[in-house]
């Protein structure tokens, strides 16, 4: 299968400080890839590069073989959606208004919603279990509810590629599982290509097709989650001792923290 979105040796720096170095990633339609790494390892920057919001200093990001730099923003926005890390809105737009914004790249002129736009937006809100929030102003919603509305906005864009920056950070456990199940379903059913930044290693293990582990801007491991996220990699990248155990019901690998894993003095090579 050919890559829908491909990063070829992309490198990005803020001034002298390199934040992403030499990252390769090929994303096929229907594939769900987790990006993991410690704080400050370049995950969000990689996502911005993949979305074309940051221009790589070296290398290139291609959407169906075409360099993002040669495509205009509207063309990209019709095919690629981004859910930002900490969504906020300056004014009290309602959840439905924010979701309808996802239709903007498909609209002309004033962009008043057509019945079809409205149907798509309402469907997107139902997808993320937020239909009941439609009339509520966003500044009255909790962090998790806002995050789901922004996911609905991205779905309303009807993209082929969906990029998510920590989409489940503010979510309770049920909605975390719901969102990941939804992403899996969208990838299977609509052949969506999806990259999501997650902190929860077990979410990546149980829901994603592939994991890309970043360490100081470089790829530390990339492959099937069970392979890329083995205990040795986790210890090397995160500096935490974890054990891979079998899920009691499914037998699938699950990572659990070792005894004293959070004690810096107990870490091998720790202070």
């Amino acid at each position: 299968m050919s890559a829908r979105l491909a990063a070829d040796a992309v490198t990005f720096a803020f001034g002298e400080r390199t934040v992403v170095a030499d990252v390769d990633l090929a994303l096929a339609p229907g594939e769900l890839v987790a990006v993991l790494g410690p704080n400050g390892s370049g995950k969000s920057t990689l996502l911005r590069l993949l979305a074309g919001l940051a221009v790589p200093r070296a290398g290139a990001v291609r959407l169906d073989g075409r360099d993002l730099r040669t495509l205009d923003r509207r063309t990209v926005a019709r095919r690629l959606a981004l859910v930002p890390q900490d969504p906020r809105v300056d004014y009290p737009f309602t959840a439905l208004e924010v979701t309808l914004m996802g239709r903007a790249p498909h609209q002309r002129g004033l962009g008043l919603p057509s019945p079809r736009d409205l149907a798509i937006a309402e469907q997107a809100l139902r997808c993320v279990d937020a239909a009941s929030l439609a009339a509520r102003p966003l500044d009255r919603l909790s962090g998790g509810e806002r995050q789901r509305v922004f996911l609905a906005r991205a779905l309303a864009q009807q993209p082929e590629v969906l990029l998510l920056d920590e989409p489940v950070t503010h979510l309770d456990v049920r909605h975390q599982l719901d969102v990941h199940a939804l992403l899996c379903r969208l990838c299977r059913e609509r052949q969506l290509a999806c990259v999501t930044v997650v902190h929860d290693l077990n979410l990546a293990l149980s829901y994603c097709d592939r994991a890309l582990v970043l360490s100081a801007g470089r790829v530390a491991a990339q492959g099937p989650p069970a392979v890329a996220l083995d205990a040795a990699c986790v210890a090397a990248v995160f500096g935490v001792q974890m054990l891979t155990v079998a899920h009691p019901q499914t037998g699938a690998p699950v990572l659990v923290a070792a005894e004293n894993a959070a004690d810096p003095f107990a870490r091998p090579g720790g202070a």
């Binding site: 981004l82 906020r88 300056d90 004014y91 914004m101 996802g102 864009q157």
Partner: protein
């Protein structure tokens, strides 16, 4: 404060609200031409072109009321789009120093010999407004964000700088030139020729209509620059266009009426509470609402101490100052 409103903008709601506000503006215009120290009989004024009533209505009151409407429309529109673009409900052409920048450029033009009612002054005022808004933005912006409080502080500095430059210009000018500049800056509406009102109206109409093109993009910008870019907005182009068009409006307003404070702050803010934050509705509503607001403020200025007349800027500042402090308290407490 809980406000009930529809969940999204529809054609019917846009059309209905705009029609309602247009009707309110038409009634305000009619009421305002009948208000004044001398009572005017509308039937006589319209029936007899040689009557004193006709004279007062057509040559004294109507051009002034229309000028108030044009200036109010310009300030309302500029306030609405600047608040949208900067993501700051406290943004206002005067508080940001944009009007002061326009006034400086206009004052220099007048002292340099330009006729205050010529076309040179509006263009200089436009250039001054554009230079100031670009400067305030450049200074207050760090890491792709403009801090709401930094932008107000830079605005304060710009206003103080502009005031001292105007004093300097006045000190260097002759007594009559200085008088002309002071009178112009004080924020007064006076009876002007229909030609001048027409030219100002043309600038304001063109500027406002072009701004409507960017209304949808301004909505997307409320979710952050990256959020808007991810939805296909060319953020730099929108920002440039909005700054240029808002400066055109402010330049036109300042060049015919000097600095009139707080209209651009109060009008979009109150309307947002009623019609919601969507710029596709808020912008036309602010044009019509700003026009009606200034027409009434001017009517109050003409009649409150009749036969003496207050500068309209005094009326808007007396209303707007306390209102601004109230908004500032809310924003400091983290509310919207």
């Amino acid at each position: 404060m809980p406000v009930t409103r529809a969940t999204h903008l529809t054609r019917a709601r846009l059309g209905g609200t705009v029609a309602l506000l247009a009707a309110a503006l038409a009634l305000s215009l009619l009421a305002a031409v009948l208000l004044g120290p001398v009572p005017v009989d509308l039937a006589v004024a319209l029936g007899d072109p040689r009557s004193a009533d006709h004279e007062i209505l057509v040559y004294a009151r109507l051009p002034r009321v229309l000028l108030a409407a044009v200036v109010g429309a310009a300030l309302g529109a500029a306030g609405s789009v600047l608040q949208g673009l900067l993501g700051n409900p406290l943004a206002d052409p005067n508080l940001l120093g944009v009007s002061a920048g326009a006034a400086v450029a206009g004052a220099i033009a007048i002292v340099a010999g330009a006729d205050p009612v010529s076309l040179v002054v509006p263009w200089c005022a436009f250039a001054g407004a554009l230079a100031t808004v670009s400067f305030v933005y450049a200074v207050a912006r760090t890491h792709g964000r403009t801090s709401p409080h930094a932008i107000l502080l830079v605005g304060v500095v710009c206003n103080a700088l502009a005031a001292s430059i105007i004093m300097l210009v006045n000190a260097l000018a002759s007594y009559t030139e200085a008088q002309g500049v002071l009178f112009w800056i004080m924020g007064a509406l006076s009876t002007q020729s229909y030609t001048l009102v027409g030219v100002a109206a043309l600038y304001v109409a063109v500027g406002s209509l072009l701004l409507v093109r960017y209304a949808a993009a301004l909505n997307l910008l409320a979710t952050g620059e990256e959020g808007a870019a991810a939805l296909g907005v060319d953020v730099d182009r929108v920002r440039r266009a909005v700054f240029v068009l808002a400066s055109l409006l402010v330049g036109a307003a300042v060049s015919v009426s000097g600095m009139i404070n707080f209209v651009g702050l109060i009008v979009p803010h109150l309307l947002r509470l009623v019609v919601g934050p969507d710029q596709r509705l808020l912008l036309p509503a602010s044009v019509l609402g700003g026009a009606a607001f200034l027409v009434w403020a001017d009517a109050a200025a003409r009649t409150a101490l009749a036969p003496a007349e207050l500068p309209v800027g005094v009326v808007t500042a007396l209303l707007g100052g306390p209102f601004f402090l109230y908004l500032l308290r809310r924003s400091l407490r983290g509310e919207r």
